[in-house]
Symmetry: D2
């Protein structure tokens, strides 16, 4: 089983006090599911998972899985610096009902390709679950080359989905598929959807990101996968200015939460400290872009 289509990474909404805001989380889930996404991802990088305590991870996962309640598969991020933690997180994810775990190479000095392979082999033999490999070098500090992704996928049939965030992702998608000749892998582009169309053209099976207008990703990916490439492209080019805007380093999560607040899903658009406040110029720029989409691009359901 590989994962295909649109997977939305869930943000973790917080109250003004900083505690987890479960009602907002539920509304976000409903918003994404209503948009028609193929699956959800919890406890990802943009879920601010690095700022959650272990008990909070459990609370988020339980809240997500009980609210989704089988309406869509849920992938749970379980990356950890240590193998035991990764295994433990993965077991909890499986018990909670997750359909797969998503795991980056462990962050450590002097990591090498042998240790990365071992990490995934050890995880796979400890926990009987699907594994999504996340290749996001700035976060893990390690770039997984196509040959190593191919090696992992060959050794572990349950690890044949890759969340790819190592640009240029379209080119790397082609190379991964070449490195996996003889069996099928699924590449899901990340990076806020910024190269979703080009990833698909290169052979990706979908996109996994937390972009706050999943409707746009669904429209693009569905059209593409049903062969209407022109329709997919036309939609993508009109939407990508917003994907690009949301995917700004350092403020991307805050922007996403602000949009989800405007869409009625999140009560407080706060991120956990240390964090950057969105300044007035950024808000003005966001307003202008949403106005443009609504007024001139016929995206009537865009909220102001």
């Amino acid at each position: 089983m590989n994962f295909r289509g649109v997977y939305s990474v869930l943000p973790t909404p917080f109250c003004a006090s900083g505690s987890i805001d479960v009602p907002s989380l539920r509304r976000v889930i409903d918003l994404y599911l209503k948009a028609g996404v193929d699956g959800l991802t919890a406890l990802g990088v943009t879920s601010e998972v690095a700022r959650l305590q272990d008990a909070e991870r459990d609370r988020v996962l339980d809240a997500v899985l009980s609210h989704v309640n089988g309406r869509a598969p849920v992938v749970a991020g379980t990356s950890a610096e240590g193998l035991l933690n990764c295994i433990d997180y993965s077991r909890r994810a499986k018990s909670a009902g997750a359909s797969a775990v998503m795991v980056s190479p462990p962050r450590m000095p002097k990591l090498n390709s042998g240790a990365v392979l071992s990490h995934y082999l050890d995880l796979a033999s400890a926990v009987d679950t699907e594994i999504v490999i996340q290749d996001y070098p700035p976060v893990s500090g390690y770039t997984v080359e196509p040959a190593l992704l191919g090696h992992i996928a060959r050794e572990i049939p349950r690890a044949r989905t890759i969340k790819l965030e190592d640009p240029p992702t379209p080119l790397k998608t082609s190379r991964i598929i070449q490195a996996c000749e003889g069996f099928e892998v699924s590449v899901l582009g990340g990076l806020g959807g910024m190269y979703a169309l080009e990833d698909l053209i290169a052979g990706a099976s979908g996109v996994m990101t937390g972009f706050a207008y999943p409707e746009m990703l669904v429209e693009v990916v569905r059209a593409f996968r049903s062969g209407e490439v022109g329709t997919a492209a036309d939609a993508f080019y009109r939407y990508v200015p917003l994907m690009r805007f949301e995917f700004q380093q350092g403020i991307g999560i805050a922007l996403r939460k602000e949009i989800l607040r405007r869409r009625g899903a999140i009560t407080e658009p706060v991120t956990r400290s240390p964090s950057v406040q969105l300044d007035r110029s950024t808000m003005v720029a966001l307003d202008r872009l949403l106005d443009w989409l609504r007024a001139t691009q016929g995206v009537k359901w865009i909220s102001s």
Copy 2:
């Protein structure tokens, strides 16, 4: 004197053999000047300056300045790991007729803010020329904080233009302007123009990048600076899918050269090794995007 408007960073065209292709360079200059840019930049990062020998730097600079022949100001990249080299490059640039030099913090282990300030102070007292500060952390390995940019600009009135490539650039633009209260600085956004509109909204004075359709940047920046923000934004949102596509890590320069080849300016779209060949998927994606711009966005002058 600060620098404003659109400055185009010139690629360095090469023959198939790898040697510098001066006729192509001249055609690129003409293309940019015909597009109405306010100035040109030679020997920048995307000019593959790190792969030129010292004698080749001189050849490029001479070719650029003699061909421009006063039609526009030329900024010359003169960053170097050592101060003496930076001074020497800057003197040559000044002698050759450049209007300013562009300098990053020197790449070195254990760099600190005091050493960065000294580097610019020493350069400024050695060479009587305008200095553009380039803030591009992945290249220099050092992030120049707004307070330090303000400090440099206060101490060196000739160093009040900043080429900003540290995202999120719109937010940092606001902060730099705050840190420079009491005197005027000019911030020029880089990053392939990907955030040009948002940079302008935040107070930037223009854009400095090598995007292969300078006409688009000129249209956006001119409209914005003459107060027609809506016109600027509308143009920008239609063009930014292409800016985003061109600005792909690892293949951006190759894509730019390929587009300039299609526009008749560059004979061979080769970059110096080690380099990445554009694969078929990337070419298909480029074709589709240019077709869309031409067919549906009314950009009639887009070449196929």
Copy 3:
């Protein structure tokens, strides 16, 4: 209150199964205290804290504090990517009886000096405890310049101890002391003790590291601090070949545990995965070095 003298960072011993080995931890504590160290540090980087779950952190801290039982002050590492986690860990440390918390700048992209200052200010107003600032750039991804350390120390009188691991530490020690003119700070050198003597000469107040022969550090630091610089230096130069050997990137913790096993403190010299096995050559080299210390340097208490 500043911290001075020798602080030993405790490793976290594990059973072969990977679970925490509390009896070994107690023996390590006794070994360090018997050596005469001035204090202990739990949950530091070399305690493999990044591979502990939250519940395990609590278990380790409780085990340490109950076994130390007031015999020496205990510093607890409470660094976290998020402020709330850092505060929560720090509160637990204080409740458990720790004398101070040790905190690095939070690891995050786009961190800046203002955010680092805020992190410490917010922590200090949330938890009434002494704070040791850890300056270890490879781990936190951020270098704290002397001016910022001075700024933090000036604003937060409870944050005037610095664990310094940004080489060259002797030179930086001098600069920190200059940046803190008008009040007293305590600099404790880290880096396995490799520059302990030179740090002391530059004005450091001691050393905080996990070197497996704390007796050596105690001998050096005591002699130095009582004015017998020649005695301190002579001892240091004889011992530093071993400090250097132990402090090898990627295998330092494994070497430390192997030595503590030989000293009878740790049952299994295992580190948590992903980990590197000590190879035969490394073992041979260790044997030779310990033999040399015992046979020719008169270090009779060195175990074989």
Copy 4:
């Protein structure tokens, strides 16, 4: 032909004005040759090669080769970001009479193992010279894994010497030798000689570094290679406190030049800007260490 024994990396002495001081360079060469080293390396990282202009590189190389005049083999650093530059530098080195070139992987974003292999293959087919592979990740930004070193060495018989500076070097030495089963490679440890003995125990063939007392390295390596391991070790342990002291990040080159000044070889101990001045504490610590070596370790030829 592989390279074995002690290769000393030559510093580039400068006059107070910053220009190259050829008479000092000649005296340094004589000092190293008199010490009995097996070869010399020019234009290495610690030769401040990154701060030399192309014409200065030629001057240094000519000065070195004409002064050495066949008394020992000379390796020339020819690393460059671009392949053409690397080839050109290597041709000049060969013409000038160098016995080998030393080349790091090219510094570039998104480098991968295939591009590294191609870089060496292309170099080897363009220039018929011995190639020393330098594996120094902080400088090149890329870690060459043992398998890739083995692959390169297998494909290019002229590239079977590795200057290894990726710690832990002893462990990596063992792994490289394993990865090169079936043919002979020579590993030369770098890192200021700090792990020279352990590298030799692991199978290294020598050391290549710029340590200012080459006599010490010669004594250690000769004893070891003639089977007197105990003698080698005893000497090494007494000398390594100084190697460790000299090899401080950020000030190592300045310290080396200061020692060579004291030894009468270098007139002005200046490094090119941006540079760090050695402070008083560092000088005091150096004096003390040299005194200890002279007074108590019987190193009579140590200069004060």
